[in-house]
Subunit: 413 residues, 2 copies
C-alpha cells in the first residue's frame, strides 16, 4: 500500500533529523503549532462540521458525535495542551548512568527518542494534536491513523501543525497522517516493522484488541481498567464509603474508575447498608453476592466480576479473608489500579506487595492513576502491559536508551 | 492445546508466589539447582546422548551437533552460571523514585518482576539452565520451549532443576518446559497473552522472525548485528587496523562481530592495502567497492552491505565524507553496534549523537557489546528493538515497575 509506506518511510527519514534538533527548536515548533491551531480555528471547525454532518447522516451515536465535535473552546484546549508540553522538561539527552570499566572504556547509558511512533485512534480529533505534541517533544516522528469519522478534522489539524511546524524547523515527514481510512490501511500499517518502531492504540477495547492481535510492530497496550476497592475489616468505614463513591461515580466512563467492591465479612453487616445506600443515591446499579442482596443489591454473575462497566454499575462481593480479597483481585482484575482501605499496617504492606497491578493504593481513590495526577505533566495513555511502560505514560515512556562507549583503542580477543 | 495451556497457567499462578519470596530464598534455589546439575551430570549426559544420536541419524550439521552436545565441563559451566547469578544483586524491590504530591499522596515507583517469561530457543541445552537462572533471580516464572533436537536434554535439565528447586522453596509451576516440540505448540504458546507476559526468542534470524511475525504476546527481539567500523580521515590508522581485525576475526559467528568497514576517501590509499592485507592474512574474504578492488578485494553487491555474514567475510566501502558514512550506517545497519575510529572531537561527538544504533563506540572494538563486558554480570541476550530494552539485557531488563501509592483518605472529584 504505497501511500501508507511512503508516509512511514518519510517518518523514518525524519527521525534521523529529529535526533539532531535542540530542545529550544522543539519548543518553538510546538508553540508555532499551537498558534496555528488558534489562528485557524474557524477553518478547523468548518472541516469538522463535515465530519459531524456525515456521522449524523450515518446515524452514529450521540456520544461518538460528542467526542468528534470541535468548537473554539476545544481547539483552544488543544493549543494550550501543546504550549503546556513545550514547557515540560525535555527527557532526551539525559545520561541515566555511566561507568568506567576496568579496561578503560567509559560506558554511558543515554536517553534517546523511541524513533517512529504509530498512533491508531478513534473519533477524537484532539488526539491528533495531543499525540503529535507528546511524541515530538520526546524527539519522535509520528505516523497518525485516525478513524474515518474524523478524517476531515484530522487532515485540517495535521496540515496546520505541519505547515506551522515546518516554518520553524520541523523536519519534512516528521508528522504524517494516513488519509486512507480503510481497515486494510490500518492492518498494513501494523506490519511496517521496517519503518515504525512502536504502535500505541488509543481507544476502546475493540480497537486495542485488534491492534494487539494483528500487529507485528511492538505495541504498547493501554486502557482497560477493572479496578477494585477492598474494604478490609480494619477500615475506617466512613473513609471507605467516601472513597468507594468517589472511585465509582466521579467519572464512571474512565479507566481508573472503580468497577468492583470487595468487603471483609467482619464489617459487611455494618458497611454494606451504608455503601449500597450511598451508591444507589448516586444512581449506581449495585450487583452483588447473596449477602449484598440482603442489602438491596441485584444478583451478580461471575461475568460481572470480570466486567469493566464504564458506567454507573458496580459489582460487590463479601470475602472471608484478606487472602481471598487478594486472590480475587489477581484473578478478575485487568491489572490497572486497586485500592485497600485499612488501618492495619500488615494488611497495607501485604496488599502493596501481593496485588499484581500497575498502581496499588492504600486509603485513596483509584481515580488518581493519571499522568497529570502523578506529576508527569502530560500523558499519552495508561499502559496495562508490563513491557516497557506500566501505568501512566509521560514523556519518559516515549523514549528509549542508547549506549555510548568512549575508548582509546580497546580490542577484545 | 491443553498441555501448553496447563504449563502456562501454572506459571501464571506461580508468578504470584514468586512475588513473595525473598532474595535469600531465590539464591538458595539457584544454588540447589546448580548442585543438582553437578550431582546428576552423568544422567544429563546420558539423556543428551540420545539427542545427539538422533541428530546424527537425521544428518544434522556438525555445528548444530556441537552446540547440542554436553560433556562434564559444559554441565559444570551451566552450574557455575547459576552460582554466579545467585551472587548478583537482586534487582527486585528497588524504589526507583518516590514523590509526595501536593494532595499528600506518596507515589513510589518500584521494581517488580516482569511476570511470566516465555523463552523460545534452538538446539542449545545450556539455554535451559541460563534462562531459568536469570528469569528466577529477577522473580519471574518461566515457560521454556526448546527445539526437538534437544528435547531429552532439556527434559533432564529442567526436571533436575525443578526437583532440587522445589525442595528448597521453588513455587510449583514456576519453571515449566513444554514437551511438545511441534511448530503448532510454539505457535500456540506465542498467542497465550492471558498467561505469558513476554516472549524472548533466542536463536537464529529465522526463529526470531517467526516469533515477531506470529506472536501476539509482546516480544523482545534479540540478536542480529550488521555492525560497522568507520575509519575517519582523522583516524590513527594503526589503531584502526587493530580494531578492524579484532572486530572481524576474534569471534566471527557472534552478533557483535564487525561485518562492514567504511573508510574515508582521504585515507583510503594509505589504509586499504594495510587493512585488506591484515584481514586476508587471517583468512577473511574481503568484498568491496571499486577502489577496494584495486587493493585485492572481490566486488561487493548492495546485498553484501545489508548482510550479517557471521563468518570470515567483510564488506568494505570507501566513503566521500563523514555524512556519507553516517547515512550508510543508518541505512544498512541492523542497529546493533557501530564504531568510529577518529581523533576528531567533532566527528566523535557527532557519530555518537547521529548514529542510530543500540551501542555506539569511539576508538574501540564493537566486540564489547555484551552483558558481561558492560558489567551487568549476566546477559539474556542483546535487544535490537527499541521498546523496553535496547542493547545487552541483564537482570534489570527482566523486570518492570509498579506504582505504590500511600494515602490517608484522598478522593478526586
Amino acid at each position: 500500500m504505497k501511500s501508507v509506506d511512503d508516509i512511514a518511510r518519510q517518518a523514518k527519514q525524519a527521525k534521523l533529523e529529529l535526533m539532531k534538533i535542540s530542545t529550544a527548536q522543539k519548543n518553538d515548533i510546538l508553540e508555532a503549532m499551537a498558534q496555528g491551531l488558534t489562528d485557524e480555528a474557524a477553518y478547523i471547525i468548518a472541516r469538522n462540521a463535515v465530519d459531524v454532518e456525515e456521522s449524523k447522516k450515518k446515524g452514529k451515536t450521540e456520544s461518538l458525535i460528542d467526542r468528534l465535535a470541535l468548537n473554539e473552546k476545544r481547539i483552544e484546549a488543544m493549543a494550550q495542551g501543546l504550549r503546556d508540553i513545550a514547557r515540560l522538561d525535555d527527557p532526551i539527552g539525559e545520561v541515566i548512568g555511566a561507568k568506567k570499566r576496568p579496561n578503560g572504556l567509559l560506558i554511558s547509558k543515554q536517553r534517546v527518542p523511541l524513533g517512529v511512533i504509530g498512533i491508531i485512534y478513534e473519533a477524537r480529533p484532539n488526539v491528533t494534536a495531543d499525540a503529535v505534541g507528546l511524541c515530538l517533544k520526546a524527539g519522535n516522528a509520528v505516523v497518525l491513523k485516525g478513524s474515518s469519522e474524523a478524517i476531515h478534522s484530522n487532515i485540517a489539524i495535521s496540515e496546520i501543525m505541519v505547515k506551522r511546524g515546518e516554518a520553524v524547523g520541523l523536519p519534512k515527514g516528521a508528522v504524517g497522517l494516513i488519509r486512507e481510512t480503510s481497515r486494510e490501511a490500518a492492518a498494513h500499517m501494523m506490519k511496517l516493522n521496517e519503518y515504525i518502531d512502536v504502535l500505541i492504540p488509543r481507544g476502546g477495547a475493540g480497537l486495542i484488541k485488534s491492534v494487539v492481535e494483528n500487529a507485528t510492530v511492538p505495541v504498547i497496550e493501554t486502557g482497560t481498567g477493572n479496578c477494585h476497592i477492598y474494604v478490609d475489616q480494619y477500615a475506617d468505614l466512613q473513609m471507605a464509603k467516601e472513597i468507594t463513591v468517589n472511585a465509582k461515580v466521579s467519572r464512571p466512563s474512565v479507566c481508573n474508575a472503580a468497577e468492583s467492591l470487595l468487603v471483609h465479612k467482619d464489617v459487611a453487616d455494618k458497611f454494606l447498608p451504608k455503601v449500597i445506600g450511598a451508591l444507589v443515591e448516586k444512581d449506581v446499579e449495585v450487583r452483588g453476592c447473596p449477602t449484598c442482596e440482603q442489602y438491596g443489591a441485584k444478583p451478580a454473575t461471575d461475568e460481572d466480576y470480570y466486567t469493566e462497566f464504564l458506567d454507573l454499575i458496580i459489582s460487590v462481593k463479601v470475602v472471608d479473608s484478606f487472602d481471598e480479597a487478594v486472590a480475587h483481585i489477581n484473578k478478575y482484575s485487568t491489572g490497572h489500579s486497586e485500592a485497600i482501605i485499612t488501618d492495619s499496617y500488615t494488611n497495607a504492606q501485604r496488599f502493596k506487595a501481593e496485588v499484581d497491578s500497575a498502581a496499588v493504593y492504600v486509603n485513596a481513590s483509584t481515580r488518581y492513576t493519571d499522568g497529570f495526577e502523578f506529576g508527569f505533566g502530560a500523558e499519552i495513555g495508561i499502559s496495562t502491559q508490563r513491557l516497557h511502560a506500566r501505568g501512566p505514560m509521560g514523556l519518559e515512556e516515549l523514549t528509549t536508551v542508547k549506549y555510548v562507549i568512549d575508548g582509546d583503542g580497546q580490542v577484545r580477543w
